[in-house]
Symmetry: C2
Subunit: 264 residues, 2 copies
């Protein structure tokens, strides 16, 4: 049996990664699991995220994942060790690729990070960045309202602009030159974020960074790449299905998609 | 063993009901369960809410609840039948009391309801109101961002005011004279909501309505009231515990509280 690229996320935000992978690894088969029954993860405790993430990645292994990409930054921040210990296939997480790109980009050594409360509280981005440059200053901000705003599809509303501006203010005054979007949902607000943080700040989207990272990984690991099926198929599983989730999925993938609900 | 008043909620919003009960039924012992590990319910499917609500009320029964109050409007809207079937003690839900108070209040027979997407989609408020007056017009609006705004404690921020105004606009133009706050969290935004909907609109808080209803119920059912312990004790359980949850609980109850985390 040939294997698929397994993508794990707390909900449907990780479909931004599916979109990014479809542009880079066109024919690779994808199996996606979004834990919509228990999302969001970003306001839950690390222990809770651990429990959920382990069950989600287990599901992907059972579906025949030959490599697992943890799209969710919250799970990547607080649950990656147990996932790696449990997984019998390679695991790619979402923090290191964006941290490395940001370190490469920053000239003034002041990097901003925005993410969920649990991601920011974990300090993982800070650790990864400072492992690459101990003198780099990392300024982080938790942005708990951005996930619900994106899920409401309020992408271009004035209310969203104001809230983005408010969250970015402390990063702006501290003159970051590089900003990491440390949550899959934030990809969809990239234009607004760029506008509010200013044109001179380079934005590093963790979704694009992890997509590049997976592509590089497969180029460097021919045996893993060869083991993966490439029939352009895609299966998208969620643990809870509502109209809202279906509409958001369509918005992110820009086409009709079939989501399959799976039980607890 | 004497029994306690059991309060079930999807998270910590139901603590507004604890506060309301403490003013009315001072000495009654309370056991609270907030399903913070799986909250919010308001954007989940009815099936999912059913599963979670049944487990939550089961927990309260095991803790010795002698009556169960479903504080969560979403669970009251879509999961009350199975809860009542499963429970061996009386169950009080949150829709009927507010609906009855609104019908009593409305002179122009135009009642507004705001709630979570799942509550509004269920049409339960509409059904209960129209059972009391078939000619009454019910105008409902789902307000998905209000729960995250309250949980962020952005109660008095201009961003919150703007969002409240936006949500209330369709109800205002249709000239409702009574507005039901159909979610435990909205109690905390009552002043802002009153300001934006206008002074002439009577606000019915489902939390206050259900607290009154429980008081009336206990007056009418002396045997149930007599079976309940009255030592002024309170135990507050949550299925996930974070600093954010603890801070919100303190804000709602206006004092230090001890939350006890219970596993899945």
């Amino acid at each position: 049996m040939s294997a698929m690229i397994g993508i794990f996320d707390s909900g449907i935000g990780g479909l931004t990664l599916v979109r990014a992978l479809k542009q880079r690894l066109v024919d690779y088969d994808i199996v996606y699991f979004g834990d919509t029954a228990r999302s969001p993860y970003g306001t839950k405790s690390p222990q809770r995220v651990n429990t959920c993430a382990l069950e989600g990645t287990e599901f992907l292994l059972n579906q025949g994942a030959g490599v697992i990409v943890v799209a969710c930054n919250t799970a990547s921040s607080v649950a990656i060790q147990p996932i790696m210990q449990r997984s019998r296939v390679p695991v790619i997480e979402s923090i290191t690729p964006a941290a490395a790109m940001a370190v490469e980009s920053s000239a003034n050594l002041r990097i901003g990070v925005i993410g969920t409360p649990t991601t920011v509280a974990s300090g993982e981005y800070e650790k990864k960045i400072q492992a690459l440059g101990a003198q780099i200053k990392v300024i982080s901000a938790a942005c708990p309202l951005l996930v619900p705003l994106v899920e409401e599809r309020w992408l271009k509303k004035p209310e969203t602009n104001r809230i983005v501006k408010k969250y970015l203010h402390p990063l702006k005054v501290r003159q970051i030159d590089t900003l990491i979007l440390g949550c899959t949902h934030y990809s969809l607000l990239k234009k607004t974020i760029q506008m509010k943080i200013g044109r001179r700040v380079k934005i590093i989207d963790s979704v694009a960074a992890v997509a590049e990272n997976l592509k590089d990984y497969l180029q460097a690991h021919g045996q893993v790449a060869a083991s993966l099926s490439k029939d352009g198929r895609m299966r998208l599983f969620v643990s809870d299905l509502t109209d809202q989730i279906e509409n958001s999925a369509k918005m992110i993938l820009r086409r009709n998609v079939r989501l399959e609900a799976v039980g607890d």
